[in-house]
């Protein structure tokens, strides 16, 4: 810059108040980035200790959505760090604590940013730093984020704004400026995952997935285990909210090993069975059901080994130990009577639009009493033990009878336990696409403190006015058991009003006895509220079913 110009600038700057400087800064920025860039999706990330950054982030998210942008709003403690490589526009709101430290919730994020070879050339960002000028290291964490992102090659959209304890005004200015520099992409540009018409051929399409995340959602002290599993795929999976994922469990390797040792079979010998061909080891691992055998299988086993065997459901290994086979040939005969491993279906908990290239599941570890003690379900155990980076094969089971309503229709979701899964997908999809219909969620579990599945996500939906009503039933927090149907009864007037006004009603989760009880209560409410007979109420519900306003995904 010419010396003269620069001294004139300095002179001007000298006479300005802070507010004026901020204005000038914005003005010049405006000149530089005149035309708003068109953007389809932004991410608002917050790192908070005492909640200030979070409440700002929630407000900003609502604003950005009003503007027609698609927004991913998430706390840095829950942010999947690998996602940074995919972000194009990220706005980070972060406070400083301790002595210039980031909030605890943001430490992992900071460490990730601090990696030597981090490269984020695709990313445009801006940082809002919260702090307190009474501390010597004012807004240090925010400054650090900015510096590290710059070092990683990300492009700063606008300068970091540092806020003192009265942060509202500067924070709003920061965000307004960002919003002004962007405009929502048109539909064509926004190119979300295309909704491909379901595969025409009847051939089943198998996908390969990699486990990205596998966490037990229940906290210490819970009597349950519920796994939240995120499966990443290379190809875009063709599915819609409401569909299920089908997969076959793999039998525990140690059991297969024991069976082979016990029978002296040749693990690598290829065998042809009516439904599958493969090595004995592979068949035992992947294709055959070897646990909790059916009575008819046990009968056939008894016939082969010519023993009297009581009809108690047990595992193959138990049988082999108590009623051994004569030789490996007889064992191969046994293989022929085993039922093929049946695929298990799980309601998908993710939205193809909001959770790009990922499928999420909510899997409760299935425990049941048998005559030989407590057992866990083979598939839920298998899924629960799947470590991150493991690969699995699956296919999509379409469920056209469980689909989102029109965008402007109200929706009532009743999903206690893992019944929450498809509704998590519904909410994510509606949130992401900005569907205007109202949403009411009924959910339940055992204890509030340890079993509130997806609590923080649901809180966020409530705070951003995505979820208009939520009714919770924690059965074991008080002496009397409370379930979702009790909450429905408490809300009978309002519930019926929603239904009368055209709401779509969904039930997901356990068929017995939940869905039966819920339906009973539903009929009771319809009957009492509209003062009709039970038969008329049944007709009312049938009509709703025909209009697709009553849908169930129960198992």
């Amino acid at each position: 810059m010419q010396l003269e110009k620069s001294s004139r600038l300095k002179e001007l700057v000298h006479t300005c108040s802070k507010e004026e400087l901020i204005w000038i800064n914005g003005y010049i920025n405006g000149l530089l980035y005149e035309t708003p860039t068109s953007v389809s999706k932004v991410s608002i990330l917050y790192g908070t200790e005492t909640g200030n950054s979070k409440s700002l982030a929630l407000n900003f998210s609502t604003e950005a959505k009003k503007k027609g942008l698609r927004v991913k709003l998430i706390g840095l403690d829950q942010y999947k760090l690998q996602d940074l490589y995919k972000e194009t526009h990220a706005f980070i709101i972060i406070s400083t604590h301790g002595e210039g430290d980031p909030p605890d919730a943001a430490k992992a994020f900071m460490n990730f940013l601090g990696q030597d070879n981090l490269s984020l050339p695709q990313l445009q960002y801006s940082v809002l730093a919260l702090g307190d000028t009474a501390y010597p290291l004012f807004c240090k964490a925010g400054e650090d984020v900015d510096a590290l992102l710059e070092k990683a090659g990300a492009k700063r959209m606008s300068a970091t704004v540092k806020c003192d304890v009265d942060y509202e005004q500067s924070a709003n200015d920061w965000f307004t400026k960002i919003m002004d520099s962007m405009q929502p992409a048109t539909q064509a540009e926004a190119a979300t995952t295309p909704v491909v018409a379901s595969a025409k051929s009847h051939e089943r399409k198998y996908y390969n997935g990699i486990i990205h995340t596998n966490i037990n959602l229940n906290d210490i002290g819970s009597t349950k285990k519920t796994f939240h599993i995120e499966i990443g795929t290379e190809e875009t999976v063709d599915y819609l909210c409401g569909d299920s994922l089908a997969l076959k469990p793999v039998n525990e390797y140690s059991i297969v090993q024991k069976i082979i040792e016990l029978t002296g079979a040749d693990a690598n010998k290829t065998i042809s069975l009516p439904k599958a061909t493969g090595s004995i080891k592979d068949l035992l691992s992947n294709n055959l059901n070897i646990l909790y055998l059916s009575n008819s299988t046990i009968k056939k086993y008894a016939a082969i080994v010519q023993k009297d065997i009581p009809p108690t459901r047990v595992d193959l290994l138990d049988l082999l130990q108590q009623f051994p086979v004569n030789n490996s040939t007889q064992f191969e005969e046994i293989l022929g009577i085993l039922l093929p491993m049946a695929p298990r279906l799980y309601s998908i908990a993710s939205s193809p639009a909001a959770h790009e290239q990922e499928i999420h599941l909510t899997v409760a570890l299935d425990t049941f009493e048998t005559e030989t003690g407590e057992q866990t379900g083979n598939c839920s155990r298998y899924l629960g033990e799947l470590a991150v980076k493991k690969s699995i094969q699956f296919y999509i089971h379409k469920n056209n009878a469980f689909k989102l309503p029109p965008a402007n229709a109200a929706m009532i979701m009743i999903g206690p336990g893992t019944g929450i899964a498809p509704f998590r997908a519904f909410l994510a999809e509606r949130d992401y696409t900005g569907a205007s219909g109202k949403n009411w969620l009924f959910m339940g579990e055992r204890n509030f403190s340890s079993d509130f599945l997806y609590q923080t996500e649901i809180q966020q939906y409530q705070k951003t006015n995505m979820l208009h009503k939520i009714s919770l039933a924690f059965s074991r927090d008080q002496s009397a058991k409370i379930y979702v149907q009790h909450r429905m009864l408490e809300q009978a007037v309002e519930l019926f009003k929603w239904i009368e006004q055209g709401a779509y009603l969904y039930i997901a989760g356990a068929k017995h006895t939940m869905s039966v009880d819920v339906e009973q209560v539903l009929l009771q409410i319809i009957q009492e509220q509209s003062k009709i007979t039970n038969e008329e109420a049944i007709l009312y519900l049938q009509k709703m079913k025909q209009e697709k306003r009553y849908q169930k995904d129960v198992y």
Binding site: S55, E99, D101, D104, A134, L217, H228, S449, L453
Partner: protein, 555 residues
């Protein structure tokens, strides 16, 4: 009133709270979170409650998509720190039913229960109410629990002086009935008319306010750390009146040089009860009117006095009182401690002072402290009195009952526990810090016992183990464990690191000073080894450690 910016957000919350009611009822009923709405989190402090969360569980719960594990601490209002045996029984039972089970004796002669979840707050407070106990104004920007020298051995006038703690407490109690409505489900009795509060108006105080009474020669209540410190002046076994000191407070903020620990300034003497109550009242009104309401870090009375100047403050006080304080009467403190073990008072009643490390009453493998206290309560033969050093006195035991109590104490290992603790351990104090204090930078009560275990061998090495050296640790510079008033103060700076302060006197009349910054355990032990070695070699006869390091100008 200095460069007060705008009012701090807390001021707005107070004035618009409708007599501390806020939206507490709605907050309590909100089922989606274990927390209260933001503003209500401030208001519950005035009801003796503090929202906390288990910081140990934060990270994992975030991954599980669960909110932080919120719970509440309740602190009772117990002027002079006194409970009847029936009340102790009730406290014991409530602690088992609703809290973590630990009864925490605080440094201000009351008890706290931690870990009460939101839905259990009301049942707990209702049970306390049946015991005629409440938590009104135990926290918040009001006058807190008034404390008083605990041990009746101090003087035959003990009962008389104790009564003043109660009178002052009543004088400075907020007038609102909100507590009864919200927690005890009483009808709304208050209206803004009947609840007119001439002392607190609708703004309450700018900050917490603390009052303590000491009976020389023991300064066990650490009066110079309080906003108002009262010294009972006794001559010829007659209570002549009180010296009044004001403007004490220990907290500071790392790196904020406008904040500092300060001892109370001696203002003068009053001879009558009427004058005493008037002077105390008007000191509070000056603080109400002149205190800094813009910056909570600079809002305590100590800053108000320093901003006004001591003379101007005295002048204002004289105007408001309508009389001037007389010249302070001579007094002498020679100690600041609890008298462990058995003592008999002038009436022949017996008192047993139990050593309770960091005030935590719970059963351990060696000492069933909590069970012992409960068993004693069930006999109905002892009252309970808390000391200002987080210990407990079993009080007012008739000579014929002493053996019964003694037998219980022996049975549960309490007597051995009290006798065996080293002098430094008995003179130690630590604040709550992790895992519940949101401000903690480092551990305190969970760690100090271990650290002392490593200091004891060093003292033994230099034959100093019987020295009554005071050591106090706090997890941050707020000084809840009064660390600035110890011969050795350890003040947390970051996890595992402490500033080492030395040079306080033994009676609480001189603050310690920073000796070394940011030490880890090894460095702390090295520094103390070095200091103790010098002390053992070069001390004068009977010279305390704090006086020694001060004489040598080590700080």
């Amino acid at each position: 009133m200095s460069e007060t910016k705008n009012l701090s957000p807390v001021e707005r919350i107070k004035t618009k709270s409708d007599g501390l009611r806020g939206s507490l009822k709605e907050s309590l009923d909100e089922p989606i979170t274990g927390a209260l709405y933001d503003d209500d989190q401030t208001l519950i402090k005035f009801h003796g409650l503090y929202q906390q969360d288990d910081r140990d569980r934060r990270e994992e719960r975030s991954l599980k998509k669960l909110e932080w594990l919120y719970s509440y601490m309740v602190r009772l209002r117990l002027p002079g720190g006194f409970l009847l045996p029936k009340q102790w029984e009730g406290l014991h039972e409530i602690s088992n039913q609703y809290s973590t089970g630990v009864i925490k004796v605080t440094t201000r002669q009351t008890v706290q229960l931690h870990g009460i979840i939101k839905s259990h707050i009301k049942p707990s407070l209702q049970q306390f109410d049946l015991l005629k106990l409440d938590a009104i104004a135990a926290c918040g920007d009001v006058n807190r629990n008034v404390i008083c020298s605990a041990h009746p051995k101090q003087s035959a006038l003990h009962e008389t002086i104790f009564a003043y703690a109660d009178k002052i407490s009543t004088l400075a109690l907020p007038k609102t009935n909100a507590y009864y409505e919200i927690w005890l489900d009483k009808e709304k009795i208050g209206s803004s008319e009947t609840e007119k509060d001439p002392l607190y108006q609708d703004r309450y105080l700018p900050r917490k306010f603390k009052i303590a009474i000491a009976i020389p020669p023991n300064n066990d209540s650490d009066i110079f750390a309080n906003d108002i410190g009262l010294i009972a002046i006794i001559k010829d076994n007659q209570l002549k009146g009180f010296n009044i000191a004001a403007g004490g407070g220990l907290s500071s903020t790392h790196g904020n040089s406008n904040t500092y620990a300060r001892l109370a300034t001696m203002l003068g003497f009053v001879a009558t009860e009427e004058q005493l109550l008037k002077a105390v009242y008007e000191i509070i009104t000056i603080q109400r009117d002149y205190g800094n309401r813009g910056d909570r870090k600079l809002a305590r009375l100590k800053y108000t006095i320093d901003t006004m100047g001591v003379d101007a403050f005295k002048k204002e006080l004289a105007i408001r009182c309508g009389f001037e304080l007389a010249e302070a009467a001579p007094y002498e403190f020679t100690e600041r401690k609890d008298y462990y073990g058995w003592h008999q008072n002038h009436e022949g009643k017996w008192y047993y002072t139990l050593f309770i490390e960091n005030g935590r009453i719970t059963d351990t493998e060696t000492t069933a402290l909590k069970t012992a206290c409960y068993e004693v309560a069930k006999t109905g033969k002892a009252n309970y009195r808390f000391t200002c050093n987080q210990n407990l006195i079993l009080a007012d035991i008739l000579p014929e009952n002493k053996a019964i109590i003694e037998a219980i104490l022996v049975q549960y290992g309490v007597i051995t526990h009290t006798n065996d603790a080293s002098a430094i351990r008995k003179n130690s104090m630590a604040c709550v810090a992790f895992n519940t204090c949101p401000l903690a930078l480092a551990e305190a009560q969970r760690y100090l016992p271990t650290l002392i275990g490593k200091i004891e061998p060093i003292l033994t090495k230099y034959e100093l183990l019987s020295e009554e050296i005071t050591i106090r640790m706090t997890g941050c510079p707020n000084g809840c464990g009064r660390s600035p008033l110890a011969e050795i103060g350890l003040i947390g700076t970051a996890y595992g690191y402490y500033n080492l302060h030395i040079g306080g006197d033994r009676n609480g009349e001189r603050l310690n000073k920073e000796y070394k910054q940011h030490l880890n355990e090894t460095q702390i032990l090295e520094a103390l080894d070095h200091l103790f070695s010098n002390y053992a070699k070069a001390r004068n006869p009977a010279e305390t450690f704090g006086n020694f390091v001060t004489r040598l100008n080590l700080v």
